[in-house]
């Protein structure tokens, strides 16, 4: 019967595919180090096991985490997400951010926000917000300001079209250097885009046909390599121009 045993000096799992149950690190062979575990990893006494299927990533000096793409979003502090207003209360707006619970956006969490100029959002307004606190068991806390108190592009998004994707595609769209699909589209078309780490993307352009083209190109690009993405975008643009 094969039991997952930590093998010393084996090729490490970093940047490789792991599945739940794989023992990725053996702490007894690494002493006197502090290791930070990100999402998808769990400590069982001396061994670190993966809890999610995905790629194991490592960043210096000591951070390990499992990167995977899902349709469900788990709120975590510091993420910029696209939320939809569900209800207004006296002190907070209730926002749906595709997480397990509704999030609270305090009515004063806007740049220059005071009791006198509280913004009025209708139910269904799309808002670009930042997650401030996301503790398990509590509703996440949001804000329309960045960490220093400036508005920084957060706030309601008018017009345009919003569609939902997986979290992996959102992260790829936000990666730097620029994602190939967005670079190829940006050379020929002009549009504006907002990407939420919760799997929601908003696109706006002058003509509806541009919006549809950009949205379809992004939705198709999830499983393509950079070369394939450029080819796909070129083919789409050729058909319309």
């Amino acid at each position: 019967m094969a039991i997952a045993e930590p093998t010393n000096n084996s090729p490490s799992y970093i940047d490789k595919l792991v599945v739940p149950g794989d023992v990725v690190l053996d702490l007894s062979s690494m002493s006197n180090q502090t290791i930070k575990l990100g999402g998808g990893l769990r400590q069982d006494c001396d061994s670190i096991t993966a809890m999610k299927a995905g790629m194991l990533r490592f960043s210096k000096p000591n951070k390990y985490w499992v990167e995977s793409s899902q349709k469900r979003y788990v709120p975590s502090a510091g993420d910029a997400v696209l939320g939809i207003v569900v209800d207004t209360k006296a002190e907070n707006f209730l926002i749906d951010i595709k997480g397990p619970a509704l999030a609270y956006l305090p009515v004063l969490a806007f740049e220059g926000g005071t009791r006198r100029n509280i913004p009025k959002f209708e139910v269904g307004t799309l808002i670009y917000v930042r997650v401030v606190k996301a503790n398990i068991g509590m509703n996440p806390d949001l804000s329309c300001m960045d960490a220093s108190g400036k508005a920084a592009e957060f706030g309601p998004l008018k017009d345009g079209y919003m569609f939902e994707t997986s979290t992996g595609l959102s992260r790829m769209l936000l990666s730097s250097p620029a994602c190939p699909v967005l670079e190829a589209l940006g050379k020929k078309l002009s549009f504006e885009i907002a990407v939420g780490l919760n799997g929601r993307v908003w696109v706006n352009a002058a003509a509806p046909s541009t919006v549809i083209l950009v949205s379809n190109a992004i939705m198709n690009s999830e499983t393509l390599t950079s070369v394939q993405q450029k080819l796909m975008v070129d083919k789409l643009l050729q058909r319309t121009q």
């Binding site: 400590q43 069982d44 006494c45 606190k133 503790n135 398990i136 068991g137 509590m138 509703n139 806390d141």
Partner: protein, 194 residues
């Protein structure tokens, strides 16, 4: 007027000038009448012979007079159900040594969690949903919940589960440790009884 009868909440038991309101009855200030507040049998208790106020006391005994009901300054054991930024909700399970028969809800507000630095309390670092806490009833609160307080050393979390599912061991006033993984989690810990 003196015989015991079955009464329901809102029934008139007498005038305030003639009877005193005991358990299960109350006086309405507007028209100085004593009404019943429980469903049960009313009974009249004669006043002690040498007291100034010679009015009899009327009491209503409900269907379960021995049931545990939280009263101000009684010690209760509750399970935390929801943690919010300014307060935590808990289901009261026992009042003193007795368990309750019906559902009572309590609220622990941010300023009642501990005695020092009450405005810097982080509710998420004091309680988590599922924790068992020992608290004292501050007041009857409002229609929805009693107000509870854990602001003394002997009140706070007495039992909690870690994220891995094991019962944690208290290691200080503010931390509990999971025996399986060694991780510590912050809680407002009650003094361990020795």
């Amino acid at each position: 007027m003196e015989e015991s009868r079955l009464v329901t909440p809102g029934e008139v038991l007498g005038k305030a000038s003639q009877v005193k309101a005991g358990k299960g009855a109350y006086v309405s200030q507007r028209n100085s009448t004593v009404y019943a507040s429980l469903t049960g049998r009313s009974c009249f208790i004669s006043p002690p012979p040498n007291s100034i106020d010679q009015r009899p006391t009327v009491e209503v005994t409900g269907h379960n007079p021995h049931a545990a009901v939280p009263q101000p300054s009684s010690i209760v054991i509750a399970r935390v159900t929801k943690v919010m930024p300014k307060m935590a909700s808990a289901d009261i399970m026992c009042v003193g040594p007795k368990s309750v028969r019906e559902k009572f809800t309590g609220i622990i507000r941010q300023q009642d969690v501990r005695a020092t630095e009450i405005d810097k309390v982080e509710m998420h670092s004091s309680f988590r949903p599922g924790d068992i806490v020992k608290a004292q009833v501050l007041s009857l609160g409002d229609a929805r919940a009693y107000h509870l307080s854990t602001a003394k050393n002997e009140f706070g979390v007495i039992s909690a589960e870690s994220a891995s599912g094991a019962t944690m061991v208290p290691i200080s006033w503010t931390e509990m440790q999971c025996p399986l993984t060694g991780q510590t989690e912050p809680r407002k810990v009650a003094k361990v009884e020795t």
